[in-house]
């Protein structure tokens, strides 16, 4: 009974058949192209054939008594995919960033860290990008945290219509950055005089002329600060939901005890609830921060590649695919990755450790 592997005939035959089918279709597909509805699907066909072959192996692996082997084997395709598409491609990008590849033909001539030093020390545009990202990140995080916490405290009062308000604050999250950027780009119309439109028109008809603004067309760096508005519109509701979850997890008993001790509602928030919300704030800063460090589509939709609103993501896109400067594009991509990793990796390691203790 302690055998670690037991050969069962029907399964074994099934395994052989699956592996054979996989091999046959792989060898067919490597000779002829597979075309369905005008699409060349040879690679997809090869992928599926490979998986059929692999499922034959899985059937054999399932005959081991120790099922953790099967577990690892089942996970393997996903692990391999992530290993190639995330880690392999990062390594490849890094290698490109150490080259002088400019133009359509790959050129892997080694130039060391030259692309990085050029970007950081000699490139005005990249400097603007870093400043813009900093402005955006600070404005975006502060805006979301302050509004989110405020809305969460208001909604915690168990007023009537709470669900409706929560829904209204959250719905912009479901819209794409592109759609939101297009709408807000139009609402923040800088035109004046007879062409006045958007929010400026509201200000004018309310007699609040002093609020009329050039919005994202303001001189740098203020223009960038206004691109924060649509981003906060989209993600303050999410921050609110995080905070509301945190506030509601503070037990009612604790609050009641504080009330009995004579604390006012304000003091309960100030001295009991707010300190307990620090982990929520940390999560929110990490999630919002990593989004803003790689902000891209929202700015594309608002600014339409306006250089005053440039960010690293857009620079990477234009220099690589319009300017065919692949080495520089790769270096920008890797710098973006480093900035996000500095924020996220400590957090991931921390949550892995706490997980291991459980």
């Amino acid at each position: 009974m302690t055998r670690s592997f037991s050969l069962r005939m029907p399964q074994f035959i099934l395994a052989i058949l699956l592996m054979l089918a996989g091999i046959v279709s792989i060898s067919l597909l490597s000779r002829i192209e597979l075309e369905i509805a005008g699409k060349n699907l040879t690679s997809i066909g090869l992928l599926i054939s490979g998986l059929v072959f692999y499922s034959g192996i899985l059937v054999i692996v399932s005959m081991f008594k120790d099922e953790t082997i099967l577990s690892v084997a089942l996970l393997l395709p996903s692990i391999v995919a992530v290993a190639i598409f995330v880690y392999g491609f990062i390594a490849w990008s890094f290698r490109v960033s150490l080259s002088k590849w400019k133009g359509l033909n790959p050129d892997y001539t080694w130039v060391g860290l030259k692309q990085y030093s050029d970007l950081i020390f000699h490139d005005q545009r990249f400097l603007i990008d870093v400043r813009n990202t900093a402005v955006f990140t600070v404005g975006f995080i502060l805006g979301c945290l302050i509004l989110g916490l405020g809305m969460a405290i208001l909604l915690d009062q168990r007023l009537k219509g709470e669900a409706l308000f929560r829904g209204i604050f959250l719905f912009p999250m479901s819209i794409s950055f592109i759609a939101s950027g297009v709408v807000w780009g139009w609402l923040m119309n800088p035109a004046t005089g007879s062409r006045i439109a958007g929010i400026n028109l509201i200000f004018k008809s309310l007699g609040l002329d002093f609020l009329i603004s050039l919005w994202h067309s303001s001189p740098p760096p203020w223009g960038m600060a206004f691109t924060v508005l649509p981003a906060v519109w989209q993600l303050s509701g999410f921050t609110m939901a995080l905070y509301l979850g945190g506030i509601r997890s503070v037990s009612e008993d604790l609050r009641e005890a504080a009330r009995v001790d004579g604390a006012s509602e304000f003091e309960i928030y100030r001295y009991i609830i707010l300190p307990m919300l620090q982990p929520v704030t940390l999560s929110a800063v990490i999630i919002l921060g990593h989004m803003s460090l790689k902000i891209f589509d929202l700015i594309v939709a608002i600014g339409n590649k306006d250089l005053r609103l440039d960010v690293p993501g857009i620079y990477m896109w234009t220099t690589t695919f319009d300017g065919t400067n692949y080495a520089q594009g790769a270096a920008i991509g890797i710098l973006m990755l480093v900035s996000v990793a500095l924020l996220v990796v400590p957090y991931l390691i921390q949550s892995m450790r706490t997980e291991a203790e459980l």
Binding site: K39, S43, I44, S176, H290, G313, W317, M336
Partner: protein, 274 residues
């Protein structure tokens, strides 16, 4: 008691004011879309339609985006379903069949969710070109599934971790295998998290822009790319552009309105654990 009522009405006033600001862009999109072309005027852009309800702008916007809405739909549906199946399998294995270093592997997979895709973009394009999946939707579907592995695995893993291992232990004593436990116990219990993941992946892929603009050519553009292109061209009137924007945002908005609670759970899973 009276001061409490006063404070409450102050809170209401703030909430209502905020709600008005949050709804303002949608209000503008809807009223602009419903006006006849003849009534469109910058001066009255915030006023309700006075000449009856017309769908001219929506029809004109739909004409601009129709093929792209189809492209998005064709891409998103298989993507969401396959992602969910893969995520479910991964989540099951990583929560109930832990092996040595499985937590490390999970963390390494998870990191893929945070990376800026600019850092893998050049190799991705070259790779997709070399396997001839560049320019069309099947390639984009594959890319979305692969880069969706971290989040779908995370959501399912957290969900399955909450299902007591005792049920599985009982099944194991009855002689069920790893596969049998999944098919007969875990999978039937997974409906809620399938809803969360399918909705999440649907929304993400529908709204995604970078992969779409880099990996597809013009005839296969999803709706985000086409909308951005429309906004950049000077040929389209703003009222048609606003109607087109509403059409492009409508599917995910409807998903949010009708299935919002699942959407929210997806968000919270994305937030990791506090």
């Amino acid at each position: 008691m009276n001061s409490r009522a006063l404070v409450n009405s102050l809170f209401y006033a703030i909430l209502v004011a905020l709600a008005v600001v949050y709804l303002l862009p949608v209000y503008m999109l809807i009223i602009t879309g419903l006006k006849p072309i003849t009534e469109v005027d910058l001066k009255t852009m915030w006023d309700l339609p006075t000449m009856g309800i017309h769908f001219d702008n929506f029809i004109a916007g739909y004409k601009q985006l129709a093929p792209n809405l189809t492209n998005s739909l064709v891409m998103v549906i298989p993507e969401a379903i396959l992602s969910a199946l893969l995520g479910s399998l991964n989540g099951y294995l990583l929560s109930k069949w832990k092996f040595r270093n499985s937590n490390l592997i999970f963390t390494l997979i998870l990191f893929g969710m945070f990376i800026p895709y600019q850092s893998i973009l050049i190799p991705l394009v070259k790779f997709m070109q070399s396997i001839k999946l560049y320019g069309d939707l099947p390639g984009l579907i594959l890319v979305h599934i692969i880069y969706g592995i971290p989040i779908t695995t995370l959501i399912f893993r957290n969900y399955y971790a909450g299902i007591s291992s005792e049920i599985l232990e009982a099944g194991r004593i009855d002689g069920a295998s790893l596969w049998g436990l999944y098919r007969h116990i875990m999978f039937p219990l997974s409906a809620p998290s399938f809803a969360v993941v399918i909705i999440w992946q649907f929304t993400q892929a529908w709204n995604e822009f970078l992969f779409a603009v880099i990996l597809t050519n013009q005839s296969h553009w999803p709706v985000t790319v086409a909308l951005n292109n429309l906004a950049g061209s000077q040929l389209v009137q703003w009222n048609v552009l606003m109607a087109a924007t509403l059409l492009a945002a409508l599917p995910t908005l409807l998903v949010y309105i009708f299935l919002g609670r699942f959407f929210l759970r997806g968000l919270m899973a994305g937030a990791l654990k506090g």
